[in-house]
């Protein structure tokens, strides 16, 4: 490639850099500072060294929240990704019904998070909710407010309802970009439905699928609003995920030090996972380019 290299172009990035410094870097630095100090308010800080980090690393409460968070993200990905692919494969490829499906699928994505939480909060209630009342009428003992398993099932159902469309739409876009010639060649070779999926559709979808997995992982790992509105982290602590616990700690108890120390570790985990995904994605792109 004979592109001209002009390093002065980097100056064009300067405005964004200033903006990011203001909105992200300075707050992040403040969090780092808070993680090493103790405070009782009024900007009076007392050095605590590595104390908060040691506390948080040994904290049962945080281990619990982290475990639940990992479990939640794993379940979400295990359901939404295969389901999204399955839906995308079975969507009409063109015509009226294809547009109809696209609009229908996009609807849940347009609903604000807290509204989704409220919808399911009412939907699942045994006294007035359609789902809760129907289940109770069928004789199923369902109550998400005092049974941890029911709470988990409701939150997972809510997230699947809210976000599977995203995976499906991304996969659908990936599928649409496959030229017909591939399918014709497969038909000539009398390839089975499975081998068409395995050797044509899946490799061609790999790029968008990775983006979908990354987005879903990040969102589910940072989920706050929906479970907060639906269960408030209960019953007990059974649906208290990382961000819910962090907010409780930082805003509810005003324990800024431990909350800052823990959010830094939370941030590092997210940074690591994002880096892995990004690297895999770019490496795949390069291999495809060859």
């Amino acid at each position: 490639m004979d592109k001209t290299q002009n390093n002065r172009a980097w100056f064009l990035v300067l405005p964004v850099l200033v903006l990011v410094a203001f909105s992200a870097v300075i707050p992040l630095m403040t969090v780092v500072n808070y993680a090493f100090n103790d405070t009782f308010g009024q900007n009076q800080f007392f050095w605590n060294g590595l104390g908060w980090f040691e506390d948080m690393l040994q904290s049962e409460r945080m281990h619990g929240a982290f475990g639940r968070q990992v479990l939640f993200s794993a379940i979400i990905l295990a359901i939404e990704v295969p389901l999204g692919i399955y839906i995308a494969l079975n969507m009409p490829k063109s015509g009226f019904w294809s547009s109809f499906c696209l609009v229908l699928m996009a609807l849940p994505l347009l609903i604000p998070f807290n509204v989704v939480g409220t919808i399911w909060q009412i939907f699942g209630r045994v006294d007035i909710g359609l789902l809760g009342h129907s289940l109770a009428a069928l004789g199923i003992d369902y109550n998400y407010t005092n049974d941890p398993l029911d709470a988990w099932l409701t939150i997972i159902a809510m997230d699947v309802w809210h976000w599977t469309s995203l995976v499906a739409l991304l996969c659908y876009a990936g599928l649409q970009s496959i030229p017909q010639a591939y399918y014709q060649a497969a038909r000539i070779d009398q390839a089975s439905r499975w081998s068409i999926f395995r050797y044509i559709e899946l490799p061609k979808m790999a790029g968008v699928l990775l983006i979908a997995v990354l987005l879903r992982f990040m969102d589910s790992f940072m989920i706050y609003t929906e479970p907060f509105v639906l269960t408030g982290g209960g019953p007990g602590n059974s649906t208290t995920f990382l961000s819910i616990d962090l907010v409780k700690m930082a805003v509810g108890q005003f324990d800024l030090g431990p909350a800052a120390a823990f959010s830094l570790m939370y941030f590092l985990v997210i940074l690591l996972v994002s880096w892995v995904f990004y690297t895999v994605m770019t490496t795949l792109d390069k291999q495809e380019g060859k």
Partner: protein, 133 residues
């Protein structure tokens, strides 16, 4: 650019870094003439700066400046290492820093403070990353 101009750029960057370092130490809070390492640098300031954290960010900043200058002088060429992925010099810095954070946390969880041995381990790890990744 010629060798002398590069020397000038290095000298300017080093002088800039030294001035900032000097300012940081001048702004450091003191008690009976000695530097009070753990006192807030700005009493009543909402960002709660202390000298150790300021020095941490100062080091990161200096690394970024150094790697920027190096990248301009010796353009980065990606290479494939033990991780089987293409990495440039900047990528290796990122991997070193991120890995060091996890090494320090693991050390803290396993053996507790102080983190001096962990820091040595991080430097070894960073050297290994720059050599083989």
């Amino acid at each position: 650019m010629t060798r002398t101009r590069w020397s000038l750029i290095y000298a300017a960057a080093a002088a800039f870094a030294a001035i900032i370092l000097g300012l940081l130490f001048m702004a450091a809070p003191r008690e009976d003439g000695a530097i009070a390492w753990t006192d807030p640098m700005v009493p009543g300031g909402w960002m709660a700066w202390t000298l150790p954290i300021a020095l941490f960010f100062y080091t990161i900043g200096c690394l970024l400046i150094l790697f920027t200058i190096l990248a301009v002088r010796f353009p980065e060429t990606p290479r494939v290492g033990v991780l089987r992925i293409e990495t440039t010099r900047g990528d290796r810095l990122f991997i070193s820093l991120l890995g060091s954070a996890f090494i320090s946390l693991a050390w803290l969880a396993a053996f507790g403070a102080p983190l001096t041995p962990a820091l040595i381990l991080c430097l070894v790890y960073a050297a290994a990353v720059f050599r083989w990744v």
